[in-house]
């Protein structure tokens, strides 16, 4: 690949944030080079391209680094104008998806992390909070699908779909690893059908990390934080 339009993604195989960027790049058909980072031994490139947070994902386009997954999605949307738009054109619709993506990214993820890192009573309490937030999300996004259940033609995933998919796409894996049900079709039918519909798409399947490796990884995360 020549230097013109060179795209490199610095990532880590298990990261849902990196997965978001992979999905977006695939949907847009953007060729890129992937570089796996060892987060316990960060490369000079990562430290140079993301000196503030030193985290993945980082997208480097023509030598310019972009950090933070949601910002990278906006960048991809604005830079590669062909094909399906990742963000809606209408400003109000755009504000709605940014609001809910922010909710998932900040509030919901905080609760999920607390639940993963705790056990017994603290864990029960954290899980109640997770379910409560899922309900808020479920109710808040009801109006997004006026024709009934979520349905995706081709690979037309948008900003919020990608965020949701990255958090829950491996939910069965998470549920196996943590031995708890996160998305229950009875409790959260919309989220369940939304995630299920997305999980059928090739672009989502192709970016799924290997199952057994993921289960072991989540278990070790939990084990490490409980010790």
């Amino acid at each position: 690949m020549g230097e013109e339009n060179k795209v490199t993604l610095y990532g880590m195989w298990a990261s849902p944030f990196v997965r978001r960027v992979k999905i977006a790049l695939k949907i847009k058909g953007i060729p890129y080079e992937y570089v796996e980072e060892d987060l316990r031994n960060k490369s000079q490139f990562l430290l140079q391209y993301n000196p503030v947070h030193k985290k993945v994902p980082v997208l480097v386009h023509n030598g310019n680094p972009i950090a933070e997954s949601l910002i990278i999605l906006e960048y991809i949307n604005e830079t590669w104008k062909h094909g399906r738009k990742i963000l809606p054109e209408d400003p109000f619709e755009r504000a709605k998806v940014r609001f809910w993506a922010d909710f998932l990214q900040q509030q919901f993820l905080d609760s999920l992390c607390s639940a993963t890192k705790s056990r017994e009573e603290a864990h029960e309490k954290a899980m109640k909070d997770v379910f409560k937030k899922l309900t808020v999300f479920e109710e808040g996004t009801e109006g997004f699908f006026p024709n009934g259940s979520p349905h995706f033609e081709g690979e037309n995933l948008g900003f919020l779909d990608i965020v949701l998919c990255s958090l829950f796409g491996s939910h069965k894996v998470g549920e196996e690893a943590l031995t708890m049900k996160i998305i229950d079709p009875e409790r959260h039918p919309l989220v369940h059908s939304w995630v299920t519909a997305m999980n059928e798409l090739p672009v989502v399947k192709e970016t799924l990390p290997p199952r057994d490796k993921m289960v072991a990884f989540i278990q070790s995360l939990r084990g490490n934080s409980l010790d």
Binding site: P51, V52, H61, N64, I66, A67, E68, L70, I71, I72, E74, Y75, E78, T79, P91, F92, R94, A95, R98, F99, D102, F103, V136, G140
Partner: protein, 225 residues
């Protein structure tokens, strides 16, 4: 043009983010002062999830979360842009807005401490945050937006005006000309921009308000000042 309303509170830096954006773009709006100790039906209707200000209401449709509101204003009213044209520079500006939302809250943690370990921790966090702004955000530019203020400057407004109040009340000095020369200059330059200068809460009033708020908070924790 459809009606624009802003529901806010006078001491809130997040309220001011929206005021600055609307005024910089010359958008007429109706301002509604909210009493957060007695939330109005309007606020509860427009922001049922968080019940917080600011809320922008445009043609009857509510937009919540100040960072989302800033982007909305930019999308609807492109005049006097707050974001640069170049996609990479836009991504950098957005990065700093996100940083402002995720990292600057440490100054409010500092605000809620008295002398001791917790305060030292909050002070350390705040200094690290300011160091990142100085070395990576601002560097040697006059504003985060370059020669004129942009969305990132607006997002960091609390560092320019509210932090000084926090420093006064807590009794610490974080931004000094010899430790953070560029940031120190920026706090002055930012507040000299006419729209900003004309739209800031009066310092004395702000000090009284937040002194009482801090006292009340610490009292609930059994700490005196």
């Amino acid at each position: 043009m459809e009606e624009v309303k802003l529901i806010g509170t006078w001491p809130s830096p997040f309220s001011y983010r929206v005021i600055w954006a609307l005024k910089l773009k010359g958008i007429p709006y109706e301002y509604i002062e909210e009493d957060l100790s007695n939330k109005s039906p309007m606020l509860l209707q427009y922001n049922p999830l968080h019940k917080k200000i600011p809320v922008l209401v445009h043609g009857g449709k509510p937009i919540c979360e100040s960072a989302v509101i800033l982007q909305y204003i930019e999308d609807v009213w492109p005049q006097n842009p707050l974001l640069p044209n170049d996609p990479h520079e836009r991504a950098v500006a957005r990065f700093w807005v996100q940083f402002a939302d995720n990292k600057v809250p440490c100054i409010w943690r500092l605000f809620r401490t008295t002398e001791g370990d917790e305060q030292e921790e909050a002070k350390k966090e705040s200094m690290e945050m300011l160091r990142a702004l100085e070395e990576h955000g601002l560097r040697d530019k006059k504003f985060f937006g370059g020669d004129k203020i942009g969305i990132a400057d607006i997002a960091f407004g609390q560092v320019a005006h509210w932090l000084e109040m926090i420093e006064d009340l807590v009794g610490v000095k974080l931004i000094e000309a010899h430790t953070f020369p560029h940031l120190h200059a920026w706090t002055k330059n930012f507040k000299q921009v006419p729209i900003i200068k004309e739209n800031l809460p009066e310092y004395g009033e702000m000090l009284v308000y937040f002194k009482r708020a801090r006292y009340n908070f610490l009292a609930t924790r059994g700490l005196g000042i």
